[in-house]
């Protein structure tokens, strides 16, 4: 579904964020990307839907090349769902409008279809009652669940998560992780940047460890948690898991 081949990215100020990264995600696979701050994990995931432009290498999503100038990026992005660390709901719209605006204006659905889909997904994340409210009136955990619903309304072929729980208070992390676990169990192709190793252990198929712009480890879950090959990964794991 997603292939990443020899991708390198240098920022205008000269900093190299990604160095020759290669990996792939099969349909139905759940990949967790982890690593210390500044390792390039968010950058990598943002390259997949073209929000960050890479200079070298190739990325394809469902056979479509992301870096090709001829590719219709908005069209591609409408099929790839993304959830952000700071939720990024649109504050001036109600919850239900947040869910329908892209359906109507990008996918061309009718307002009725969009609203129906929106309510169905709000039910799924357990927030139907909040539909007429504005984002500012919801808690962080609720906003993030709405954000997931918003991405799902577009019927994506895969979902990208960029540290979805990092900005949440501890007591709200689980409500979001529960939604993500359910999504994984239903067979959604997912690529998640996260520190939540419990989530990784539960539903991930593979774990990718990045450090300083490079992919250091790319193992099946059992191997990663059992006996990671690289020393840096071992250090990282021991620091994280000791919490």
């Amino acid at each position: 579904m997603i292939t990443i081949r020899n991708v390198s990215l240098v920022y205008p100020n000269g900093f190299q964020a990604l160095k020759d990264c290669s990996t792939s995600v099969e349909k139905g696979e759940v990949i967790v990307v982890c690593g210390p701050s500044g390792s390039g994990k968010s950058t990598l995931i943002k390259c997949v839907n073209g929000l960050e432009a890479f200079q070298q290498g190739e990325i394809t999503v469902d056979g479509i090349s992301v870096g090709d100038p001829k590719t219709n990026l908005p069209r591609l992005r409408s099929r790839v769902g993304m959830v952000f660390q700071h939720f990024e709901l649109f504050p001036h719209m109600t919850i239900i409008d947040n869910l329908t605006t892209a359906q109507v204006n990008v996918l061309g659905r009718t307002k009725e279809e969009a609203i129906e889909r929106g309510y169905k997904l709000l039910d799924r994340v357990g927030l139907r009652a909040h539909a007429p409210k504005h984002p500012g009136q919801l808690s962080g955990g609720q906003q993030q669940r709405v954000a997931i619903a918003r991405a799902l309304c577009m019927d994506p072929i895969c979902m990208l998560f960029d540290e979805p729980t990092s900005a949440l208070d501890p007591e709200m992390i689980n409500e979001v992780l529960d939604v993500m676990v359910e999504l994984a169990r239903e067979g959604m192709t997912m690529m998640c940047v996260t520190h939540e190793m419990g989530f990784a252990r539960k539903v991930a198929h593979r774990v990718i460890f990045m450090d300083q712009g490079q992919i250091i480890e790319d193992d099946k879950k059992e191997q990663f948690f059992g006996s990671p090959r690289s020393e840096r990964a071992q250090q990282f794991l021991s620091k994280i898991l000791s919490h």
Binding site: L51, R77, G81, F84, F90, G136
Partner: protein, 246 residues
């Protein structure tokens, strides 16, 4: 000792044709309002476009917007007014220039003043629209794009609606400034409120009453616009954002 004669406002200027001095003052007030409102429409429309250009990921658009803002912010309003009134009619294609110069003088003054004030204020509004959009941080832009919106769609559905709500407070001080700045039009002969003040001083022997009346009218005008903008601010507030409605 100065003789205060407030009844002067009810008197008629010699050969004035039935209008009292008070009518004169209100005629001036109407012109002030008209030229300011016309300029405000120009300023909002043009300023918004320029503000969007300034933040758009396109070098040419950004350069155009920057040039506009820098030119119109670094030349005094009075100089700009004279350039609109005297210079531009000479520089535009001959037919347009002649058309302008043959207009009724009042219309010439009004047009020059309205365009001048409009583009002058537009530069300031463009900076505020820019600040509003930039304050939304890249997250909102990314979220819009990630859903599949094109860049113009992202501006239309996500960035601009929010940016305009955010900048209502600075916009209200801009419209107040605009009404005050309209007084420069008196220098090219437009008989708006400030010019009427001077007329009254010339025609009557009561300079203090004339000026106090005109000054009071500006203060009242100021207050009215302030109240109106407060009401708009209330309507524009987004629940849960910046302390409204939670």
């Amino acid at each position: 000792m100065y003789k205060w004669r407030w009844e002067i406002f009810l008197e008629q200027p010699p050969g004035g044709g039935g209008a009292t001095y008070l009518d004169w003052v209100f005629a001036g007030l109407r012109l002030t309002a008209a030229v300011s409102l016309g300029a405000w429409v120009i300023a909002l429309a043009w300023g918004s476009v320029m503000g969007v250009f300034r933040t758009y990921p396109n070098k040419l658009l950004r350069a155009i917007s920057t040039a506009y803002v820098e030119v119109f912010r670094n030349i005094p309003l009075l100089v700009q007014l004279f350039i609109w009134y005297v210079v531009i009619p000479e520089l535009v294609p001959a037919s347009l220039g002649t058309w302008f110069k043959q207009l009724n003088p009042l219309l010439q003054q009004f047009l020059a003043a309205m365009l001048c004030l409009g583009f002058f204020t537009g530069a300031r509004i463009s900076e505020q629209v820019r600040a509003g959009i930039e304050s939304l941080a890249r997250g909102q832009k990314a979220a819009g794009l990630a859903l599949g919106f094109t860049m113009p769609q992202t501006y239309r559905y996500v960035l601009l609606p929010m940016a305009f709500r955010l900048i209502v407070p600075p916009l209200s001080s801009e419209i107040l400034n605009l009404f005050k700045n309209s007084a420069v039009a008196s220098t090219i002969g437009l008989l708006e409120l400030a010019a009427m003040g001077r007329q009254l001083v010339d025609y009557t022997a009561q300079p203090y009453e004339s000026f106090i009346a005109v000054t009071l009218l500006y203060v009242v005008l100021n207050l009215l616009i302030l109240l109106l903008m407060r009401w708009v601010e209330g309507k524009a507030r987004v629940p849960g954002f910046m302390g409204g409605g939670r």
